[in-house]
Amino acid sequence: MAWEPEEGSLIADRYRLEEFLGKGGISRVWRGTDEETGDEVAVKHPNYDSSNHPDVIDDSIRSELDVLQTIREAGGHPNVMELVDSVVHGDMLFIVVDFVRGEDMQDAVSRRGGIANPEDIRNIGIALCEAMSFLHRNEVIYRDLKPDNVMLRDDLFPVLIDFNTAKGFQPEAGDGGVSGTVIPNPVYKPPELNNDPELVGYRQGPWSDVYSIGKLLMFMLSGSGVRKHAVDPRDFPGTRSTPAYLAEIIETATAKHKDDRYRNATVLARVLTARDPEPPDVAHFYHHQAEKTYEIYPGDTIGRQAADGPQPSIALADPDNYISAVQVRFDQTDEGEWVLYDNSLNGTWVWSADGGDWEQILSASGRERLEEKGKDPGASGDPPPEKRVLDPGDDIALVHPEYPVWLRFDGAGEGS
């Protein structure tokens, strides 16, 4: 039998394992101390003593580390588990993450028999929406949102943990390992995640997060997982006095069909914040080449239509793969202005309705890539901004003005 970490083990001369916290099919987790900084950390390593094949376990841990690195490179998010370090010790990969003191949502809610104060539930919901929005725009897809995977600190601040089944946005070819497998869960997962998307008619996208968060809100209220779609807490014992706004939001969020739900987690956060189930303003885009009008909600994304895998809010055909998986994201300011955020490597161009010239909008990562290639993104003046306010009539060219994917922003108007 190979070496097994145990209580008191010192990993990579730095991380002391203090207390065994638990194990799953993939990994074992310890509470530990970073002896250099004195910080409390959680230390994960493969659990080869499980029913999974060692290769599956290795792939899964590796994939979790990849995702956590992507998250760290994107600047991290307070509601998402933070990667501290990864080390190989005794031929074993250790992932060191920030330790969250609290209990998982399953235990926290079961112990209380449901969370009594709807305001607490609302706040947890908003935080989870923000975490999911953050992951979406960084092209990370979290496929297993359920009470066991959310830690609640004692002040009920939620942190998303366990990125075993999360993965990058790109569809992978021939990935048959566990990282490509999603276990059905009829309570927390929407139909498009539990079933063959071909039969459902659409794939996983931002609307899928909305469903799962809606179900988590219901779970926190009632203390039980509910299989029903479009669940109205007021119909169930124990939650009949749920505030109307919250009940209606949960009912919309958990609708069976994606078109009946809020479009993305940003919209869900807005309605929770406003305590008003009516979704915020919608804007329109006209796609010149496709001669088609699209509705856009705050938080919506536009990206390339991939052969499979998760989708942006609006997926455009792009056989040459110039458009990024998530190319641009839209949001609306408190003043009602619509803002375009570039999220791509190639950048996005805007032609102002007031005249002028094409202006490039480029994400920080796109800019870094140009700089790595020795090009100066700011050669012709200031470096391109990462975002830009849109006015009705503005034209948007994804990738480049000469690349024939042009959209006209029509504002809140009906489009043409």
Binding site: P184, P191, N194, N195, D196, L199, V200, G201, S224, V226, R227, K228, V231, D232, D235, F236, P237, R240
Partner: protein, 472 residues
């Protein structure tokens, strides 16, 4: 849209006849609209249900309220020695929640257990409601006790209610002392799931799951016709998914009709069977199984052909060990699900060739001359025609049944359905077991795990044996 696929474990059969294992898979798509539901809750309120259990029953019923839509109908029947209809079938949109809550308070534990009377009353509440192809009908039975009525009476009742009125009876036993044979028989004979609940807190989940999924009925009371060439004989027929159970089937004009659970949205069903091919002319190709799925407004069909050869060897002989493995797995799970681990063990040993020929040879199996070269010398993978043929068999007792009383006989009810549990000597395996000794070690070890996980004493593990993880 419902997808229908059929596969056999081989592409070639011997001119002298072969034992073939087959599988039919039915994959329903999405429903266009929610089905209307007719639900009778048939609840054990005997004295043993007092305390936490009756409190959880009340809570579970209140949860059912949450799942219902306006045009659904609900009735509530409580039984102990007496039967009380607490709520006649009521359209949900016409009753105030407070009134429904008041009904729940009427659930009080006390007295004995007359399950059959409870079921009959529950059936009566639904009998007069107008039904149709867009309606899902259920009696949800929950009991923790025993009823002196013989098991076959329950099976007969359940079968009749299912065939005549399209009502299935998912049945849940709770605790350690319920009558598991009755629970299994009621559910199995009505093409429904039997469920073990170990904790009172699981009641709510059982009700919720059954009520919610009923909303997604794609087609009620479907059946599958397996058309076979003249002289072919069907052996074992099991339902593999959504739950491993004996299948209900009957002969129809030389073919076999298998009664299926209601098709629910996205819920895959799988039927596995064995068939003895008739002698054929070498060099010919013929359709061995012609499959038709009969559902209202839609009929899907598919067929599988085989080549008749003098000497089926090599690649063509066994096209898919997987089909045979699934069949053995199903047989093992079915036995384990009934707590008959001896039988599960024997099936496994026979399938993997771990038992010497004679020890478990099926009495009356065909002679060795019918064996094809290249096949295992063990005849145990051949279905015993006498014992398992259903065509033409009408009486419940076949005198030549070799396994002593009950081996084949009581698996075939009056109308040929396999409603009753398998009886007789534990180690007599009805119909023979496919040979999977060629399967790889990982597969064999998975089969062994099924047996190891089940316990003759623990109902929970038996129930778990009947559930197949999603597989593609």
């Amino acid at each position: 849209m419902t997808k229908l696929t059929a596969e056999l474990d081989r592409a070639e059969v011997a001119a002298s006849g072969s034992s073939v294992t087959g599988s039919v898979r039915i994959e329903p798509g999405m429903t266009d609209a929610d089905a209307q539901r007719h639900i009778a809750l048939c609840l054990d309120t005997s004295g043993s249900m007092s305390g936490e259990k009756i409190e959880q029953v009340r809570e579970g019923v209140r949860w059912v309220f949450g799942y219902l839509a306006e045009d659904d109908h609900l009735s509530i029947v409580a039984f102990d020695d007496e039967v009380e209809v607490l709520l006649p079938a009521t359209r949900w949109g016409t009753i105030a929640l407070d009134d429904a809550d008041a009904v729940v308070q009427g659930l009080q534990a006390g007295g004995g257990t007359d399950i059959l009377a409870g079921l009959e009353a529950a059936h009566d509440t639904l009998a007069d409601l107008e039904s149709g192809p867009d309606v899902g009908r259920r009696i949800l039975l929950l009991s923790d006790g025993r009823d002196e009525t013989v098991t076959e009476s329950f099976a007969e009742f359940a079968r009749r209610v299912r065939r005549e009125d399209g009502i299935a009876i998912p049945a849940a036993g709770i605790g350690d002392f319920y009558d598991e044979d009755t629970i299994r028989a009621v559910a199995t004979a009505s093409d429904a799931e039997w469920v073990h609940l170990s904790r009172a807190a699981d009641i709510e989940n059982f009700f919720g799951r059954k009520v919610e999924t009923l909303r997604t009925v794609v087609a009620p009371s479907p059946n599958l016709e397996l058309g076979l060439p003249a002289g072919a004989e069907i052996g074992e027929v099991y339902l593999r998914r959504p739950q491993v159970r004996q299948a209900n089937f009957e002969p129809v004009d030389g073919d076999v009709r298998v009664f299926l659970p209601d098709l629910l949205e996205f819920e895959t069903q799988e039927v596995v069977f064995t068939v003895e091919t008739p002698p054929c002319e070498a060099g010919r190709r013929f359709t061995l199984v012609d499959v038709t799925l009969n559902i209202p407004g839609e009929a899907a069909s598919t067929a599988v052909e085989v080549d008749c050869v003098t000497d089926p060897t090599g690649e063509g002989r066994v096209a898919s060990t997987e089909v045979a493995v699934r069949h053995v797995d199903t047989m093992v799970r079915e036995a384990a699900g009934e707590g008959d681990l001896d039988r599960a063990e024997t099936i496994l040993k026979e399938a993997t060739g771990e038992l010497p020929d004679q020890a478990t040879r099926i009495a009356g199996a065909d002679d060795e001359g019918a064996e094809t070269p290249g096949e295992s010398a063990d005849a145990s993978d051949r279905v015993d025609a006498e014992e398992t043929r259903i065509a033409g068999q009408s009486g419940p007792d076949a005198d030549d049944s070799p396994g002593g009383e009950g081996t084949a006989a009581d698996t075939l009810g009056e109308d040929g359905t396999a409603a009753d549990a398998l009886g007789g000597e534990a180690t007599q395996i009805r119909g023979g077991v496919p040979d999977v000794s060629d399967a790889d070690e990982e597969t064999l070890s998975e089969l062994r795990t099924v047996v190891q996980r089940a316990s003759a004493e623990d109902l929970e593990t038996q129930y778990e044996s009947t559930k197949i993880e999603r597989e593609e």
